[in-house]
């Protein structure tokens, strides 16, 4: 799965947690989940759990700390998918 495909899937994971749908449509790897998408930090764990289910991976504490920008989310997802392959 390439980065572009993961980004498209990631939009679906993020959608329930942002009211900024316009920004969500145009996200790129530099988009910050809290600052740009206005996602409440209390939903970050929800997003991590949803990403685990979507990609059938397990995201540990250290990796979860990196999931604040779309690009780093994709890095973590690819890393974990490769580990479980």
């Amino acid at each position: 799965m390439d980065r572009k495909t993961i980004l498209t899937e990631l939009k679906k994971v993020l959608a329930p947690y942002t009211e900024n749908k316009e920004m969500l449509d145009g996200i790129n790897e530099d988009t910050d989940l809290i600052r740009d998408l206005k996602i409440n930090s209390a939903n970050l764990v929800d997003i991590i759990i949803d990403a685990e289910s979507t990609y059938n991976i397990e995201i540990d504490f250290d990796s979860a700390d990196r999931m604040y920008k779309v690009g780093s989310c994709i890095d973590v997802i690819i890393e974990k998918m490769n580990q479980s392959a």
């Binding site: 930090s41 209390a42 764990v45």
Partner: protein, 224 residues
């Protein structure tokens, strides 16, 4: 450098079932905090409230420390609550449209939170609608002013505006002038009076239909 940090969790937005799943709460609670819940005094607190109480305190501590170290990344399991004191009063079922801290409030949770070399102290209030918390670097909270207000619209822009308004309205009781709030490059609020920074550390939070604020008064003003 003085600092403050606060947070609020709207309990109506909490997914109780998900919160009670290990794979969820283990991303928030450290192993020692999972064990801490088994102390008998804490059993009166529903587990989902325990998880979100600790989340809230960790958020507050993060906001406090972020002002001191702008490079800090929020890592819930690395901010450790070591000790929790249960309030003397039983669970507060009343949900007022507006709540403000007082020195005599016997209905507050309190305790110690540690991140690396930093030791902070917290106060927290829980009722049916929300969990609010604030942290300080001293066990005495006589100079820490914090409060919660309900709002009519849970849209992000409205939440942000109402949180700022609640803070300014409360600050106006202590500082005279033309107060307004700017945002630092890191993201925390900066209180400005007649275009000059006041040096009053402040923090804002919102979730669902609630906004919350905290600020620290100078040592010559004591909260009553």
């Amino acid at each position: 450098m003085r600092s403050t940090g606060n947070d609020i969790v709207a309990l109506a937005l909490v997914n109780k079932q998900r919160t009670s799943q290990f794979r969820f709460y283990s991303k928030i609670l450290s192993v020692s905090e999972q064990k801490l819940y088994h102390q008998p005094e804490l059993q009166q607190l529903p587990f989902e409230n325990y998880v979100w109480l600790l989340w809230s305190v960790k958020e507050s501590a993060y906001k406090y420390l972020k002002r001191l170290d702008p490079t800090l990344i929020f890592s819930p399991t690395n901010i450790i609550i070591q000790h929790i004191v249960i309030p003397g009063l039983s669970f507060d079922e009343s949900v007022a449209a507006q709540w403000e801290s007082t020195c005599e409030d016997a209905g507050l949770y309190s305790g110690k939170v540690v991140h690396g070399p930093h030791t902070l102290y917290f106060r927290a209030k829980i009722n049916e609608a929300w969990i609010a918390s604030v942290v300080n670097d001293d066990e005495c909270f006589d100079h820490v002013c914090w409060g919660v207000k309900s709002i009519d619209n849970a849209g992000y822009k409205y939440q942000s505006l109402e949180a700022r308004l609640a803070l300014i309205n409360k600050l106006n009781g202590f500082l005279q002038g033309d107060l307004r709030i700017e945002k630092s490059s890191v993201g925390y609020p900066v209180i400005v009076n007649y275009d000059e920074e006041t040096g009053v550390p402040a923090s804002l939070a919102h979730d669902g239909y609630f906004v919350a604020y905290s600020f620290v008064l100078s040592s010559d003003i004591v909260l009553t």
